[in-house]
C-alpha cells in the first residue's frame, strides 16, 4: 500500500493548471489596468482578455517578461498561527502576436496570439493539506502553475470583431497496482496518463457608433471552466492477506471558474479608459479533495471519511483601467497605466467541520475546516515605453484583503470508529487579513 501511495504522489504532482491569469490578469498592459482588456486589448494579451481583439494586431510581436508575487496572509484566532507562510510566486511570461497577412478582403483582419506563463522554479504547485491546516485556498498555490492560451481574432468589418481560442490544462488519470512479486518482495506496476483538457474562450467587440475605428467599444468574452483533476486508484488488494480497500487519491489541483466579462472602453491613440465587470461561476467549485475510500454500491452508508465541502458562491468583479499615451521624439511613446478592481471572495463566511480519525484513539472526530479567503481591493499601475522596434513595460498590483471574520465549526469529541460522525463542536472565529504584491517587467520586439 505504501509503495503505491508513493507513486501516487508523483502522479498528483504531474498536473498543470492555469490560474495566475485569473488572479492577476495576463500581460503588462492588462495587469497594469487591473485586468481590463475585454474591450481595450490590442496585442497578444487578447488571447486571454478577448480573442476578438487579436485582430487589432498590426506587427509581429515577441515578448519575454518576468513576474513576481509575494503573499503576506494572516489568519488569527484560537488555534491559528497568525501569518501563514507562502513562497513567492515567480514566473516568466512569453507572448507571441502574429497578424496574418492575408490579401484581398482579409487584409489586416486576422491575427493569432499565443500566451505562456511558466513559474520559474516549478511548473505546478500541488499542495493540498488536510483541511485543519490553515490555508488560503484561492490565492497562493493557484498562482504557481503553467498557463497556455492561444486564440484567433477576425475583424468582420463595420466595427465588429469576433474571436476564439482556448486555455489548456493537463489532468491525470492513472492506476497503481501493488502486489507481492515472484521473489516475495513488494513490487508495483504504475500506469498513468497525463491528459489535456481544454476550455474555450470566445469573444466579440463592437465599435460604437457602428463603424470601424470609432473610439467607443463594447466587448464581451466568455471563458470556459478549467478544471485540473487528478485521479489515481491504488490497488493493494493483492499485497497481503490484509483486506485493504482500493485507495482513491483524487482531487482538484487547479480550478478556474467559468467566466463572462463585459467591458466598455473609450480607446484612442492618446487615451484609453476601460470599465467592466467579470462574472465568475465559483459555485461550481467542488472543493479540493475527494474521499480516499469510497463506499461500495452495496454499502452506501459505510464508514468512509468524507472530504470537506466548500459552498463557494458566484462573484462579480468590477474593474476600471486607464492608459495615457504620450508621444515622444523619434517615434518613441510613453504609456502610463493604472487601474482598480474589487474581487469579492467566493468562499463562505462559515465553514463546517471536516472528518478525521484521531491517530491515538482511532476514533472519528470533527476538525475545523481552515480554508480561508477574503475579498480583495486591487490597485494596479504600470508604464511602458516604445522605442521601435523594442517595447519595455513594467507593472504592479497591490491586493489588499478586506479584513474578514470566518466562523469555523470547531473540533468535537471523538466517536467510536465506524459510528455516525459526531455533531459539530462549538464554533471559533478566524480573523483574516493580508496583502498580495505583484510586479513584473517585460521586453518585447516587433519584427
Amino acid at each position: 500500500m505504501g509503495a503505491g501511495a508513493v507513486v501516487a504522489a508523483s502522479l498528483v504532482a504531474s498536473v498543470a493548471s492555469a490560474s495566475p491569469e485569473d488572479i492577476f490578469g495576463y500581460g503588462p498592459r492588462s495587469v497594469a489596468m487591473a485586468g481590463t482588456g475585454t474591450a481595450s486589448s490590442d496585442d497578444y494579451e487578447a488571447a486571454y482578455t478577448n480573442p476578438a481583439l487579436i485582430s487589432r494586431l498590426r506587427a509581429r510581436t515577441l515578448v519575454i517578461g518576468y513576474q513576481e508575487a509575494s503573499f503576506n496572509l494572516s489568519a488569527s484566532g484560537t488555534g491559528l498561527p497568525g501569518p501563514v507562510g507562502y513562497d513567492p510566486a515567480t514566473g516568466i511570461l512569453i507572448g507571441v502576436g502574429l497578424p496574418i497577412p492575408f490579401g484581398g478582403r482579409l487584409k489586416d483582419r486576422v491575427g493569432v496570439a499565443i500566451d505562456f506563463y511558466t513559474p520559474t522554479s516549478l511548473l505546478v504547485r500541488g499542495n493540498i493539506p488536510y483541511p485543519e491546516t490553515p490555508q488560503f485556498v484561492v490565492l497562493p498555490d493557484r498562482a504557481q502553475s503553467l498557463t497556455i492560451r492561444a486564440g484567433l481574432g477576425l475583424d468582420l468589418g463595420y466595427g465588429i470583431r469576433v474571436g476564439g481560442g482556448f486555455g489548456a490544462l493537463a489532468e491525470l488519470d492513472g492506476s497503481v497496482v501493488v502486489a507481492t512479486n515472484s521473489t516475495g518482495s513488494v513490487g508495483s506496476t504504475v500506469q498513468d496518463q497525463l491528459v489535456a483538457v481544454y476550455a474555450p474562450t470566445v469573444g466579440a467587440t463592437f465599435d460604437l457608433p457602428f463603424g470601424a475605428g470609432r473610439p467607443f467599444r463594447l466587448g464581451v468574452a466568455y471563458r470556459g471552466q478549467l478544471e485540473a483533476r487528478f485521479s489515481v486508484d491504488i490497488d493493494a488488494t493483492k499485497l497481503s492477506s490484509l483486506n485493504i480497500p482500493v485507495l482513491n487519491i483524487s482531487g482538484i489541483a487547479q480550478f478556474d471558474p467559468e467566466e463572462v466579462a463585459f467591458e466598455a472602453a473609450y480607446d484612442t491613440k492618446a487615451f484609453t479608459v476601460a470599465l467592466g465587470a467579470t462574472y465568475k461561476k465559483w459555485s461550481a467549485y467542488p472543493g479540493p479533495l475527494e474521499a480516499t475510500t469510497t463506499c461500495p454500491a452495496a454499502m452506501p452508508m459505510c464508514g468512509a471519511v468524507q472530504p470537506p465541502t466548500l459552498a463557494f458562491h458566484d462573484t462579480v468583479v468590477p474593474r476600471i483601467g486607464v492608459e495615457r499615451t504620450l508621444a515622444l521624439p523619434r517615434r518613441t511613446k510613453l504609456h502610463l497605466r493604472a487601474g482598480y478592481a474589487f474581487e469579492p471572495t467566493p468562499s463562505p463566511s462559515e465553514t463546517s467541520a471536516s472528518q478525521a480519525v484521531d491517530p491515538k484513539s482511532l476514533m472519528l472526530v470533527n476538525v475545523p475546516t481552515r480554508y480561508f479567503d477574503a475579498s480583495r481591493s486591487i490597485i494596479a499601475f504600470g508604464s511602458g515605453i516604445e522605442i521601435p522596434p523594442l517595447t519595455i513595460d513594467t507593472y504592479g498590483q497591490v491586493h489588499v484583503l478586506v479584513p474578514r471574520t470566518i466562523t469555523l465549526d470547531a473540533a468535537s469529541p471523538a466517536s467510536q470508529s465506524g459510528a455516525p460522525p459526531p455533531p459539530p463542536g462549538p464554533t471559533t472565529v478566524a480573523h483574516v487579513t493580508g496583502t498580495v504584491l505583484t510586479f513584473g517587467m517585460s521586453l518585447g520586439v516587433k519584427f
Partner: protein, 449 residues
C-alpha cells in the same frame, strides 16, 4: 545588435519547450523531414526547424502556419506474440514568423506534436519484465519546441532555445484506520504536497552556406533526465472491524528516487547539396550519447513498522513484509552514430504549382547491449525507409498571396528478428526472439503568407 542579442538570450533562457524529443527523435517532425529520412539539419526552413535545426528558422522567407497529422503503428513481437505497443499518433503543427530587427533577419518559431489520447504516459515496470524500452512509453509524449534565430551574415544562421521537462518531488500522507475484515469501513484520508519542477536544457544550431549549392550545419540538443523524487508516509491503526479494539499500528515510510524519462544529448552534423536546380540530397550524422542513459528502475528506501498484536495475528491475516531492497542493474547502453540520408526531386514545375518526390533512409543501431542477464530491455537495430510527395500551389487566392504546400510521407521501420539468449538456463523469462516493424504515415499543410 546588442539589444537583439539580449532579447535572444532572454528568449533562450525563457522559451518553454516541454517534453521535446522522443516521438520526434523516433519518427521525425513534419512530412518533408520524415520523408527525407530526418536529414534536414542543413536544409530546413519550415516549422520543423524547431527540431531539426533552429538556425533554419532565419531562412524562412515568409510567415508560415503548418498543421498536419501523423500516426505510427508499432507492430513489435516477442516470440511471435504482438507486444501490443500502442500506436503513436497525433496532430503536428507549427509557426515560423520571420522578420527583421535592427535590419537583421530574425525569426521566431514554434512546433508541436500533440498526441491524440494523452500528453504523456508513464508505465513503470520491474526491471526483469520484458519491455520495448525505446518504443513503448518514451514515444507517448507531448512535444513543444520554441526557438529564435538570426542571420547576422548572409551565409550564416544561428538559433536556439531552451527546452524544459518536468521533475517531480513531493510528499504524500495517508492517515486513518483500517479494519482489515471490513475494508469498506476504512477511515482513511490523504494530503499531498508535491511540486512539478522544471528541468531546462539547451538546443542550439548553426548553418553555414559554403556556396549557393552546398551548406553545412551543426546542431546540439542537450540531455535531460526526468527525475521522480518522492516521500510517502502512511500511518494509522489496523483493526479487525470498526468496532473492535486496535490490533496494531502501521507505519510505512518510503522514499523513492528514479529517472522516469531520459533523453541523451545529441550532436548533429549535417550537409545539404543542391546537385541540380531540381535535385537535392542531404546527409546528417547524429551522435547520441546513450551511454549516459540512466536505468528507469527506482531506488527505494523503506522503513516499515507493523508490530504484531500482543496476541499475535488472527488466523488468515498476514501483514506485508518489508520489501527487499531493489538492486538496480546498470543498463550500460552504448553511444551511437545515426546516419540519415535524404533526397528531394522537384519532378514537376509549372507556373502555378510544383511537385516533389522525396526519399530517405535512417539506420539506428540499437544502443542496448545484449540482455543476457535478468533485465529485459528489448531493442533491435532499426532500418527506416521513407518516401514522400509534395505539392506546392502558388497564388491560389487573392486573399492568399503566398503559397500552400501539401506534404505527405510513408515510412517503414524494420526491426529484424534477433534472438536474446540468457546466460542462465534458470532465467524465468528465458530466451526469446524479438523483432517487428513500424509503419509511419502522415501529412501536413503549410500556408505561407
Amino acid at each position: 545588435m546588442r539589444p537583439l542579442g539580449a532579447l535572444a538570450l532572454v528568449a533562450f533562457v525563457a522559451i518553454a519547450s516541454e517534453a521535446r524529443a522522443n516521438p520526434v527523435d523516433a519518427f521525425g517532425l513534419g512530412s518533408r523531414g520524415t520523408a527525407m529520412g530526418g536529414a534536414q539539419a542543413a536544409d530546413v526552413s519550415d516549422f520543423s526547424a524547431n527540431y531539426y535545426n533552429p538556425a533554419g528558422l532565419a531562412r524562412a522567407p515568409k510567415l508560415e502556419l503548418s498543421l498536419g497529422y501523423m500516426g505510427a503503428d508499432q507492430s513489435l513481437y516477442v516470440n511471435g506474440v504482438n507486444s501490443g505497443i500502442d500506436p503513436v499518433k497525433g496532430l503536428v503543427g507549427g509557426v515560423v514568423a520571420p522578420g527583421r530587427v535592427f535590419g537583421i533577419p530574425f525569426a521566431f518559431g514554434l512546433a508541436i506534436f500533440l498526441p491524440d489520447d494523452f500528453l504523456s504516459r508513464v508505465n513503470a515496470l520491474p526491471q526483469d519484465q520484458p519491455r520495448w524500452e525505446l518504443y513503448a512509453n518514451r514515444n507517448q509524449r507531448l512535444y513543444i519546441a520554441a526557438n529564435v534565430a538570426i542571420s547576422p551574415l548572409p551565409w550564416l544562421q544561428v538559433g536556439g532555445g531552451i527546452a524544459f521537462m518536468a521533475a517531480t518531488s513531493g510528499t504524500l500522507g495517508i492517515t486513518g484506520s483500517l479494519p482489515v475484515l471490513q475494508a469498506a469501513n476504512a477511515e482513511l484520508r490523504h494530503e499531498v504536497d508535491a511540486d512539478l519542477t522544471a528541468i531546462r536544457y539547451p538546443q542550439v544550431g548553426a548553418r553555414v552556406e559554403l556556396s549557393r549549392n552546398v551548406a553545412l550545419a551543426f546542431v546540439y540538443r542537450g540531455q535531460f533526465s526526468e527525475k521522480l523524487d518522492l516521500h510517502a508516509i502512511l500511518s494509522g491503526g489496523i483493526t479487525l472491524t470498526p468496532t473492535t479494539p486496535l490490533l496494531t499500528t502501521a507505519y510505512y515510510n518510503l522514499e523513492t528516487i528514479s529517472v522516469s524519462a531520459f533523453l541523451p544529448q545529441q550532436a548533429v552534423l549535417g550537409a545539404s547539396w543542391q546537385i541540380t536546380p531540381n535535385l537535392r540530397t542531404n546527409l546528417d550524422l547524429t551522435y547520441v550519447n546513450w551511454s549516459a542513459y540512466v536505468s528507469p528502475v527506482a531506488s527505494i528506501n523503506v522503513k516499515l513498522n507493523i508490530p504484531p498484536p500482543s496476541f499475535g495475528w488472527p488466523p488468515g491475516i498476514a501483514p506485508p513484509t518489508t520489501p527487499a531492497p531493489t538492486t538496480i542493474l546498470p543498463l550500460n547502453m552504448n553511444d551511437t552514430l545515426v546516419p540519415h540520408l535524404g533526397i528531394e526531386w522537384r519532378a514537376l514545375e509549372r507556373p502555378k504549382w510544383e511537385g516533389f518526390v522525396r526519399g530517405g533512409y535512417e539506420y539506428d543501431k540499437s544502443p542496448i547491449p545484449a540482455q543476457t542477464g535478468s533485465t529485459n530491455y528489448i531493442d533491435r537495430d532499426r532500418h527506416a525507409f521513407s518516401f514522400g510527395l509534395g505539392l506546392r500551389l502558388m497564388q491560389v487566392l487573392r486573399e492568399l498571396p503566398g503559397d500552400i504546400r501539401l506534404d505527405g510521407h510513408v515510412q517503414l521501420s524494420a526491426l529484424f528478428d534477433g534472438t536474446t539468449v540468457k546466460s542462465s538456463p534458470a532465467d524465468y523469462v528465458g530466451d526469446y526472439v524479438a523483432g517487428g516493424h513500424i509503419w509511419n504515415v502522415g501529412g501536413n499543410v503549410t500556408v505561407g503568407f
